[in-house]
């Protein structure tokens, strides 16, 4: 038999029972689709984080609570970072050009007749523009003193200023943020969107104002002096390792623990990216296992149905043998059916996976990046599954005795 004939015989075999064919393919469709979608989501998540971290600017050191070493909730009160740590680092670690921390909120902002809901509010410290490399287009950013005193001032992102005040000068105007009246003292230079954060449409105010006015519960106000991440900007030419070490020593002393028991991570941007990459790699390995298992299940489904199909079509096999089909002809027919099942399933799964990933990115809250090699991988594994799990049923079909097969009812 010529390859084209084998293909057409196998294709007709599959078409004779369309519903069963589709159900059999479902395992492969779901497996392949899931692999592509999950890889797209994980690649998207990685892209966001990498973007965000890069968008923070260079020469940055991050101080974060270390949850695995009895961080917040685990140890005592000295395992939290506080505003005191922020000022201590700024004052005592050499080579530091700026230290900032942030607390975010979301509030309705009103100016005159304009009313914007869900504006992202960034409560931060005076060094924010230095640390985050955000320029000031007009007016000024708030000072350390204004932060300490909780002066009710605000700095607007350029698109937010445009939405609220149009072409008129916003500086000196009042905005109502939630139920707090703030005076606009500056507008930032345009920075655009970096890794999901639109710097241009945010409202910046002091950490103190956010703590006092916009935090959701009384409890958070009590713990208002606690901060999550401290960002340290280091001067060009200063050793990052040196600065990290000095920061660790300072924090250990301030929190009264030994250096080895320090409940904080002090890392550079590169460290964070590396950690993230390692996490993603582990995540991907997990996905690969999930994919392998789902393809295995799909393959067993194919084998199961092919075995049923061989039994059910025993008579057909007998007829084909009687009129001259060799064992190889029969084996190839069923093997090709299994291969077609898995390849068509793989193609449908790839379509579904790419479509699903696109839809998740377009309509869902995920950013997705479709990884081209994941499509190839999924396809090749689907084909392998077809051949491996199709072989046994195909072989049992080829070994049928024509006399027995013809007598089969």
């Amino acid at each position: 038999m010529k390859p084209l004939e084998i293909l057409s015989v196998a294709w007709e075999g599959l078409l004779t029972n369309k519903l069963r064919t589709l159900l059999t393919m479902l395992g492969v469709i779901i497996g392949v689709g899931a692999v592509i979608m999950m890889l797209a989501v994980s690649a998207g998540a990685q892209a966001i984080v990498a973007d965000q971290i890069k968008g923070l600017g260079t020469n940055l050191i991050f101080v974060t609570p270390n949850f695995t070493r009895g961080g917040p909730g685990g140890g005592g009160s000295n395992t939290f970072l506080t505003m005191d740590d922020v000022s201590a680092i700024e004052a005592q670690v050499p080579g530091v050009t700026g230290v900032s921390t942030e607390r975010d909120a979301s509030e309705t902002v009103r100016a005159g007749s304009v009313n914007l809901s869900g504006v992202s509010i960034v409560g931060t410290t005076a060094d924010y523009p230095t640390v985050r490399s955000v320029g000031i287009a007009s007016g000024r950013f708030f000072t350390a003193q204004e932060v300490t005193r909780g002066t009710k001032v605000a700095v607007l992102g350029p698109s937010l200023a445009e939405s609220l005040f149009g072409s008129s000068n916003p500086i000196g105007q009042m905005v109502l943020v939630g139920n707090a009246q703030l005076t606009v003292i500056g507008v930032t230079a345009s920075k655009g969107t970096v890794g999901n954060v639109d710097y241009d449409s945010q409202l910046y105010t002091s950490l103190t104002v956010v703590n006092q006015r916009f935090l959701p519960s009384r409890l958070s106000r009590i713990f208002g002096s606690r901060v999550s991440t401290i960002f340290i900007k280091v001067a060009d030419g200063t050793s990052m390792d040196q600065t990290i070490f000095q920061t660790q020593v300072l924090l250990a002393k301030a929190h009264n623990v030994s250096l080895t028991e320090l409940p904080f991570n002090v890392q550079t941007q590169q460290d964070v990216i590396q950690t993230q990459t390692a996490t993603t790699a582990a995540f991907r390995a997990l996905l690969a296992w999930v994919a392998a298992v789902s393809l295995l299940v799909g393959g067993i489904g194919i084998m199961n149905i092919m075995l049923v199909s061989v039994t059910e079509r025993t008579r057909e096999i007998g007829i084909r043998q009687a009129i001259g089909a060799t064992p190889t002809d029969v084996r190839l027919q069923f093997l090709t059916e299994a291969l077609l099942l898995s390849l068509v399933g793989g193609a449908l799964g790839a379509l579904g996976g790419v479509g699903g990933a696109w839809a998740l990115g377009r309509f869902g809250s995920f950013q997705t990046v479709i990884v081209p090699w994941s499509i190839l991988l999924a396809f090749v594994s689907a084909a392998a599954v077809g051949i491996v799990f199709g072989y046994f049923p195909a072989n049992s079909a080829a070994k049928l005795d024509p006399i027995q097969a013809l007598r089969y009812e």
Partner: protein, 244 residues
Amino acid sequence: MSQQPLIETLDLVKTYGKGPVQVHALNDVSLRIQTGEFVAIMGSSGSGKSTLMNILGCLDRPTSGRYILAGQDVSDLDAYERAEIRNREIGFVFQSYNLLGRTTALKNVALPLIYSHNGKHAPEVRHKLALEALEAVGLADRADHLPSELSGGQQQRVAIARALINDPLIILADEPTGNLDTAASLEIMSLLHDLHDRGRTIVMVTHEPDLAEHAQRVIHFRDGRVETDKVNGERQAARSAGAH
């Protein structure tokens, strides 16, 4: 007659099972069938006639003895070689037609061509040959029908067209009218007569004496042996009368 017989069997033995439960389906069966003969094989069930047909059709191999088809010893061929013999030299006609149910009459007829290893038939050629074969059995207008849309007699004619498509040496018909009513039976028998008249060699298994009357020669089987093997006088007479 010094002519080389088309079919020659020498001491064919077929046994099933082992030891005390051993069954001798065929016991030293030696037969010669010439090209152009129309032979009916009769016998009760268990007489060995089906076993003989399976061996003659290269569906099965004898336990011992030789089977020589057109001068070639085919007793010990492997599964692949036997498939090729079945494809080229043997046309099967079964009691239950054995057409592929979800395949049109035309494609059913063309099926043996797909498995022809020596033939280089393009799809158009296969289509043409199959249509000619259907025409020969008077069913060209039913080419695109599924077997379920045809009567029993029509299905059997499709099966005969399929048996003929590779121009085989012998037609092996196993109770070809067993599932048919009288009218359809006569139709099939007259088709077999036509084929015989055009020089085909036909071996037919039946247990209806009426049908055996159609053949030139009737071989009776009992307990795995040839009981009687006689030329059908009436049929011979009819043929010679017709020739005059």
